[in-house]
């Protein structure tokens, strides 16, 4: 069975908010170590899809499997799956009342029941990974957007997730800060982390993605390797979207 190779399987996910059908029928499979980027216009369900994967948003129908275990309908066990599915948000969502290092260690202590000294050690290690160890004792309000986002990546990584979800991680950042966050993400790709990334950073998507999915109106309209999508997009809207990107990046 080919399915066994997939670390994440998303099958026929549908989600509506009221009369607004945000996800119409989305399926996507991800192999271990793959990076899958989701691109497309705003409001096409990309973020909702990521939030369905860790059940922050409960899909109306469809199934999601992580390592062949069903994540949908997991009940209280969802808290276990969420440890395995790291998530990074557009607006960082660092815990405002905690220093950087406390942000990283709190879930280790509260969720993984790690001893504080061990949790601290692990948190400092993860902060080093994202180049933020020197800022360990600073509060979120004292960090730049790029630094805050790197701390939030460290916070997710500390849980030793099997996959990482990035929901427009650089959309709130200026180009310089974007670069420092993308560098960290590239490093993760090199380390073999499985990643699903919603992004408008086409350069990043093209350089690291194994697969790019173009989404529109709640559907994956086209998917393929970066070169397939860039050089030969079949779908008209995708062609236009990528064309616009090319125009602005010249």
């Amino acid at each position: 069975m080919t399915e066994e190779k997939y670390i994440l399987r998303v099958e026929n996910i549908k989600k509506s908010f009221g009369t607004n059908e945000v996800l119409k029928n989305v399926s996507v499979n991800v192999k271990k170590g793959e990076t899958v980027c989701f691109i497309g216009p705003s409001g096409t369900g990309k973020s909702t899809l990521l939030r369905c994967i860790n059940q922050l948003t409960i899909p109306d129908s469809g199934k999601i499997f992580l390592n062949d275990e069903e994540v949908t309908h997991a009940g209280p066990r969802i808290n276990y799956f969420r440890q395995k599915i790291g998530m990074v948000f557009q607006n960082f969502f660092l815990f405002d009342h905690l220093t950087a290092v406390r942000n990283v260690e709190i879930a280790l202590i509260k969720v993984k029941k790690m001893k504080p000294a061990m949790a601290r050690e692990k948190a400092i290690f993860e902060l080093k990974q994202v180049g933020m160890a020197e800022w360990a004792e600073h509060y979120p309000a004292e960090l730049s957007g790029g630094q805050a986002q790197r701390v939030s990546i460290a916070r997710a990584l500390a849980m030793d997730p099997d996959i990482m979800l990035f929901d427009e991680p650089t959309s709130a950042l200026d180009p310089e800060l974007t670069r420092e966050v993308l560098e960290v993400m590239k490093k993760l790709v090199q380390q073999g982390m499985t990643m699903l990334v919603v992004t408008h950073e086409m350069g990043f998507a093209c350089s690291v993605a194994n697969k790019i999915c173009f989404m529109e109106h709640g559907l994956i309209k086209e998917e393929g390797t970066p070169s397939e999508l860039l050089n030969n997009p079949e779908f008209e809207r995708c062609k236009a979207f990528i064309g616009e990107f090319r125009e602005y990046s010249q």
Partner: protein, 223 residues
């Protein structure tokens, strides 16, 4: 003459402080102990829970403290077969009344925390309870503190209504002294000064606490 009388009776008046502060402390403890769960229930509870809490808040905020005091002292507690000393009735009523107000201070603070904080906590595998305890409450309590600190002078001043059921607090003792000595103004003035000083000391203490737990860039105490 009046001064001598005041000096003679001052120790008796001062000993009322312990009862006044006892009422305030009990009321604040009940107020927080009950007000916080009420606030959490109102934010995170089911519809029936929210409805019951709304009725509670509506009831206790809708009646004068004196009316509540009489209702409980002469009506509700005796009907329940409870023969409580006036001090306890006063403390409980002030506590129940304070809880209604404090719950709304806490509720506002909890609701002011951005949804993203809960989302991030849940995304790390925290249960709703863990997220509330480790993330939402530490933040919202800091935000609530300045508003909550109003409760101290408010309960302190309201505690004097316990005079009406004979709790020997500051005002009761002042009146007793006045009726014994026929010296009016100096005695009530002394009573007022003690109230003002107690109020000042308490609010100063709370402001110091606010500064102590302030976090850079976070909440009204942050910079």
């Amino acid at each position: 003459m009046a001064l001598e009388i005041l000096i003679d009776w001052f120790p008796y008046l001062l000993s009322g402080i312990s009862l006044t502060l006892g009422l305030v402390a009990a009321a604040l403890i009940i107020g927080v102990g009950l007000g916080l769960p009420l606030a959490l229930g109102q934010v995170y509870g089911s519809l029936p829970v929210k409805t019951v809490i709304s009725i509670y808040v509506w009831f206790f905020r809708g009646l004068p403290v004196l009316v509540l005091l009489f209702l409980f002292y002469f009506g509700i507690f005796p009907a329940m077969g409870l023969d409580l000393p006036a001090f306890y009735v006063g403390a409980v009523v002030l506590g129940l009344w304070g809880a209604a107000y404090q719950s709304q201070v806490f509720r506002g603070a909890i609701q002011s925390i951005s949804e993203g904080q809960m989302t991030a906590a849940r995304s790390l595998g925290m249960s709703r309870f863990q997220a509330i305890r480790s993330v939402i409450l530490p933040q919202s309590m800091r935000i609530a503190l300045p508003g909550w600190s109003n409760q101290y002078p408010e309960i302190l001043t309201e505690s004097s209504v316990c005079y009406a059921i004979g709790v020997a607090e500051l005002l009761t003792r002042s009146s007793q002294i006045v009726s014994q000595t026929y010296v009016t103004m100096p005695i009530y003035l002394a009573c007022a000064v003690i109230f003002i000083l107690l109020s000042y000391a308490g609010t100063t203490g709370i402001h110091m606490l606010e500064k102590k737990i302030a976090i850079p860039g976070f909440g009204p105490g942050g910079s």
